[in-house]
């Protein structure tokens, strides 16, 4: 359908990598069939497609993390057989994966030199050099991270910046970013875009995977689209537009994403009064109404996640009170919250949401086993299975079967499993913490439709997102948080990006704060 003739005018040697007719199968899944991807030197090449389209698999083949079944890879003019990640590193391919792959228990500095620590004598490590080099690299990228810190003590966004810094330090000819901005703040994303521009000017080829199409059009030169493991097209970005990309990816048009009916009713379901946790957040104060979607916006690190974790009973708070349908809800454990009717889709699916080595079926039923057991003891296998099947279908989770291990699903599909797990429990209050991270456009639309459906049946929603258009688009009201303080509550018809950003960055403390106090 789409000719890339114009695009192929360049000489062979213009390409840093050419992947031709790549195929790859996993048990029961044909992840890729005859996929092509060619990237020029000094080009930022976007790779887009729905969840499970095969993007991550394609780049893992390029880095040697997986072995291709068929196809050829030409790198820098020579055909190569990428047999393992070590090989790809040596020829100059570096990737920042969707799931951060750092040694969590080692320091930032050590992570820069994994496997090849500089030595000061044949038996001793040159720690000075380790930390000073790491420090220089981090400083050159304007990152304020102490190289002595253990990686696991850094927030995820910082961990990712470390992974990026490390990849850059390793001097590559081809850099791959798999959904890098999913975990970053706007500022950090801007930093990353600057870094990418610099790499590009140095003639390095870049593969950039993202579900955020505005990024694709902002700084990518060309885009390759995959659908269901098949190659669809490659085009220069200037010759296409968002609508066309979406219809190529999803196979249909997506209309106004955020348009849906709101079902806000006056009854108060949850009231949070003066909730305070020392040094983390102070004076959080709001009501949640039946069927309402209450957005919560703040920059990453503003304390939003801690606030909802406190409401959910997963972390302690020092002061304040929470009541549920007018009765004090003294929730001290997630279990109690779940029994009351709370559901939480946590921020980090891999460490908080999913039992990765277990099956899709078990994960979806995780909150329910007591309920779906005879006498609470013997699991009703039929209900277990039908539960799993219905959510796999309702959320269109792409999985070979309900018995597939969750670890093997694509990132976006893992996220959908977490959502299914919470919904299966039919909560009265759903808390979504960044639910659309790493989710493709089509599925995002489905999640918004789901919000409509939930609120229609009287479920109330707290919706955290760092993506401003999304918060504004879905929320009835928006609580804005800055550095742990509630800066105001804004009504949907007064919400503008500018106004919210001002509050969120702490520049302006709105009269809305007083208004919220009066609630």
């Amino acid at each position: 359908m789409y000719q890339d003739s114009m695009y192929q005018v360049g000489k062979m040697s213009d390409y840093i990598v050419e992947m031709k007719n790549i195929s790859k199968s996993f048990p029961g899944v044909r992840a890729l069939s005859n996929v092509n991807l060619s990237v020029k030197k000094g080009e930022v090449h976007a790779l887009v497609g729905e969840n499970g389209a095969g993007k991550s698999t394609l780049i893992k083949i390029l880095t040697g993390a997986y072995q291709k079944d068929e196809g050829t890879i030409v790198f820098d003019g020579k055909e190569v057989d990428v047999k393992d990640p070590h090989f790809s590193k040596n020829i100059g391919i570096h990737a920042v994966y969707q799931d951060i792959t750092l040694a969590m228990h080692l320091s930032v500095g050590e992570n820069f030199f994994l496997g090849e620590l500089p030595m000061s004598s044949p038996f001793t490590v040159d720690w000075k050099k380790v930390y000073s080099t790491a420090n220089d690299v981090l400083a050159s990228l304007d990152l304020k991270i102490d190289p002595h810190m253990l990686v696991r003590n850094l927030p995820v966004a910082k961990q990712e910046m470390v992974a990026i810094a490390k990849a850059i330090y390793e001097k590559s000819k081809l850099m791959i970013f798999d959904e890098p901005t999913a975990l970053l703040t706007n500022e950090e994303s801007e930093e990353l875009f600057k870094i990418i521009a610099r790499l590009k000017s140095e003639g390095i080829g870049i593969i950039y995977i993202s579900h955020r199409l505005e990024e694709v059009f902002r700084f990518c030169d060309a885009v390759t689209i995959l659908k269901d493991g098949r190659y669809v097209a490659t085009m220069p970005t200037k010759d296409t537009n968002e609508d066309e990309l979406i219809s190529l990816m999803v196979g249909r048009k997506i209309e106004e994403m955020y348009y849906f009916e709101h079902h806000n009713e006056p009854e108060v379901v949850l009231s949070v009064r003066n909730l305070t946790k020392k040094k983390v957040f102070q004076g959080i104060h709001f009501d949640l109404h039946k069927g309402e979607i209450l957005g919560m916006f703040g920059l990453v690190g503003s304390g939003r996640t801690d606030i909802v974790l406190s409401i959910f009973g997963a972390t302690k708070y020092d002061e304040g009170s929470i009541s549920f349908f007018g009765k004090p809800a003294n929730v001290r454990k997630p279990r109690e919250a779940i029994e009351l009717g709370f559901g939480l889709v946590p921020e980090n699916r891999r460490t908080q949401g999913l039992a990765l080595p277990l099956s899709v079926k078990i994960n979806i039923n995780l909150l329910q086993y007591k309920k779906i057991s005879h006498f609470g003891i013997v699991i009703d296998r039929n209900r277990e299975l039908s539960n799993a099947k219905s959510f796999i279908q309702e959320l269109s989770i792409k999985t070979p079967s309900e018995d597939a291990i969750v670890r093997n699903l694509s990132g976006g599909n893992q996220q959908k499993v977490v959502i299914g797990k919470c919904l299966a429990n039919q909560p009265k209050i759903m808390i979504f913490d960044e639910p659309t991270l790493g989710i493709d456009v089509g599925s995002k639309e489905e999640i918004y439709t789901l919000l409509e459906k939930l609120t229609k049946t009287g479920t109330s929603v707290i919706f955290i997102s760092s993506y401003l258009p999304e918060v504004i688009g879905v929320s009835d009201r928006i609580v804005v948080i800055s550095e742990g303080r509630q800066m105001g509550i804004i009504d949907r018809n007064e919400a503008t990006e500018e106004r919210i950003m001002k509050l969120a960055s702490g520049i302006e403390e709105n009269s809305a704060k007083i208004e919220s106090e009066a609630v």
Partner: protein, 324 residues
């Protein structure tokens, strides 16, 4: 969005793969049995087999409890001591005139509580399972020596001693007990919320917590179950040996862990099945029995045992890495 074409083969393929893990073990066992039948005179005799089955049953019961601990990502080094403790306690109680039934019940209950105490240390004390149970292994063994003055306890009631020798439907009673417990633990792992929770805790504690799983209760039950099984094994051991023996059960923890691991359980949690553990236990016992019959130096046998453990895990890892 359109439904993605599901590929049906996968679940079948997975079942076939699972069969492979346990199938390999069955195969190994068959080879072993055929070899021993051909090369020894004594292996395929009723006497030897019933002896083999009795010994396997005792170690096998301990391994059943251990399986839960291992799946939950922990380890229980105290089971050998609990076996010894229950064995001595039941003997002492009966000697002091407590009716058999009551003595057995009391010993089992106390073994369960010893396990729960391990669970308490692990959950409430946040002591790593290895350390917590290393401690209780030593504490309990010390207690055995104290209460028995390190002496054998003989002269136990006849009906109690007879139990180890009786048969039901031609099967040794010990074996029947093991069978019942196998069915019970398979039921627990496969059919109950408790079983699911054990796997979930083994895959990620934080996920389990945020999913509202009662981790404290589940941890108590996991270690309690391990203690319970060890207690039952200890009582059976005393019946079989006709004496309460202070050093009884020493080293049983290693056999139990080895059974789990040979059976495909992973010490990092969330993997393992009862059936695998049972096969693991049978393989270890057959090897030991066969070695004796062949007149192999027991020290060499110990070496072979170690090699089998390492080899079994290596094969399992290799297969996992190369599954297609």
């Amino acid at each position: 969005m359109k439904a993605h074409q599901p590929v049906e083969q996968d679940s079948k393929e997975k079942k076939r793969f699972k069969l492979k893990t346990e199938g390999t073990l069955v195969l190994l066992l068959l080879v072993l049995a055929v070899f021993l039948t051909i090369f020894t005179r004594g292996f395929l005799t009723g006497n030897n087999l019933s002896n083999l089955v009795r010994q396997t049953a005792i170690n096998g019961i301990v391994a059943l409890g251990m399986t839960f601990v291992v799946i939950s990502g922990g380890i229980d080094l105290s089971v050998g001591s609990v076996v010894g403790f229950a064995g001595i306690l039941v003997a002492l109680l009966m000697k002091s005139g407590v009716p058999i039934g009551l003595a057995v019940l009391a010993s089992i209950s106390i073994s369960f509580l010893l396990g729960v105490a391990n669970g308490f240390m692990v959950f409430d004390g946040r002591i790593p399972p290895f350390i917590a149970t290393l401690g209780s292994m030593s504490i309990i063994r010390g207690a055995i020596m104290l209460i028995s003055r390190a002496r054998m306890i003989a002269g136990l009631p006849k009906p109690f001693l007879d139990f180890a020798q009786t048969t039901y439907l031609g099967l040794p009673a010990l074996f029947v007990v093991w069978l019942v417990l196998i069915l019970f633990t398979i039921f627990l792992t496969k059919k109950t919320p408790f079983g699911r929770n054990v796997y979930t805790i083994g895959s990620n504690l934080e996920v389990a917590r945020l999913s509202g799983i009662n981790i404290r209760f589940t941890t108590y039950m996991i270690y309690g179950l391990s203690g319970l099984m060890a207690g039952i094994a200890g009582i059976l051991m005393t019946s079989r040996l006709a004496n309460g023996i202070p050093t009884g059960g020493q080293g049983y923890e290693m056999d139990a862990i080895a059974s789990c691991v040979i059976g495909g359980a992973s010490l990092s949690g969330a993997e393992g099945t009862i059936l695998g553990t049972v096969l693991g236990a049978v393989i270890i016992a057959t090897l030991r029995n066969g070695g004796n019959l062949l007149g192999i130096d027991p020290f060499i046998l110990q070496i072979v045992n170690g090699v089998i453990i390492v080899a079994a895990v290596y094969i399992d890892q290799y297969r996992k890495a190369h599954q297609k």
